[in-house]
């Protein structure tokens, strides 16, 4: 067989340590191990890890586990429909929901402040005042041009306009 480390199949070492190889694969792998020091060392280490993990025993199940569970189930069955609706607002759930709600409220407030018409109003006023001045100036210019066009060179009106 190909070396698992070189053939991009290192998971085989884990399966070997876990005892998950079938007889055929196990025989082929053990044959490979006898001629491959790298795989042999890694496999020995993985076996050691597997054994080390055996040290970790979980605590025993408490004797009142079922009683407490059935008492909670019973309490749930006695809930009225509005209490069932309010279940997401249980203190434990609120711990998760509150930060999200606060963030959403902040974003909403920020959006409202940025979108307020008052914030845009000064710019509009400025634009209006600029436009009024421009109109006045344009009217003056037109009046002056009218005077020019009405006055013919050599006349008293032409001399007054100049």
């Amino acid at each position: 067989m190909n070396c698992p480390m070189e053939s991009h199949n290192p998971e085989m070492l884990v399966a070997y340590a876990a005892g998950q190889l079938n007889q055929e694969a196990l025989a082929a792998f053990e044959k490979h191990l006898s001629g491959c020091p790298a795989c042999s060392a890694t496999a020995a280490d993985q076996m050691a890890v597997w054994q080390a993990l055996d040290v970790w025993e979980a605590p025993s199940v408490p004797s009142d586990f079922d009683r407490r569970l059935y008492s909670r189930i019973g309490a749930e069955q006695r809930l009225t429909w509005w209490e069932r609706l309010a279940r997401p607002f249980h203190p434990l759930m609120l711990r998760r929901i509150l930060p999200l709600t606060a963030t959403a409220a902040l974003l909403l407030m920020a959006g409202l402040i940025l979108e307020r018409p008052a914030a845009v109003a000064p710019a509009t006023k400025g634009a209006e005042s600029v436009r009024a001045e421009q109109v006045e100036r344009t009217l003056d210019d037109l009046e002056l041009l009218g005077q020019f066009s009405a006055a013919r060179p050599g006349t008293q009106e032409y001399r007054d306009a100049m």
Partner: protein
């Protein structure tokens, strides 16, 4: 798939009976999976009281979901998906500081060891506690998904396909996840097995 899963998986069949209002089937499921759920959650969160509370929540959710239950996968896949989700959420809420505190304090809730031929000496107990603390620290140091995968693989004896379904990733991703996790553990724990 639903019909096939129900045919192959006796637990799924029991759950379908719970759906039909059979409380005795729920008691059977609880009896069968109670210990493995508590142990799995305990090894993830490292606190016995929290593990018991979360395990209660797991079974409560199973019971609450009975009406909408469809056997689209193995029952244990569904069960451990709920357990993993709850435990990892709890860990994210608690952050790493508390986890580190618990590791530094040492295991406050050591399981009672039973040695058949003789009572363990004080030295044996100290040795055992030191080894246990080292294993707990090494596993707790793994990234969340790797940790959950190792616990399901090593202690719950789940296969790659089932772990992939619980974690919501591909089978090849689980193989790679497990290999990286065991490589990290090899660097931290291999010396223990050789002693």
């Amino acid at each position: 798939m639903g019909v096939v899963a129900a045919a192959l998986d006796y637990d799924a069949e029991l759950m379908l009976r719970v759906k039909d209002g059979d409380g005795a089937s729920f008691a059977l499921l609880l009896e069968k999976h109670r210990a493995s759920v508590i142990h799995f959650v305990y090894r993830l969160v490292l606190e016995q009281a929290v593990a018991e509370e979360l395990a209660q929540e797991v079974f409560l959710r199973v019971y609450r979901s009975r009406a909408s239950y469809e056997p689209t996968a193995k029952f244990t896949t569904w069960l451990f998906r709920i357990a993993t989700h709850l435990a990892l959420n709890w860990l994210r809420d608690e952050k790493h500081e508390r986890m580190q505190e618990r590791l530094d304090d040492g295991p406050p809730d050591l399981p009672a060891r039973e040695v058949s031929d003789r009572r363990p000496s004080v030295e044996d107990q100290l040795m055992y506690q030191a080894k246990l603390a080292e294993v707990r620290r090494a596993v707790a140091g793994l990234p969340e998904k790797q940790r959950a995968a190792v616990l399901m693989h090593k202690y719950e004896e789940m296969d790659y396909v089932q772990i992939a379904k619980v974690l919501g990733c591909s089978e090849s991703a689980v193989k790679s996840l497990l290999f990286r996790a065991y490589e990290t553990l090899r660097a931290r724990l291999a010396h223990m097995g050789r002693i």
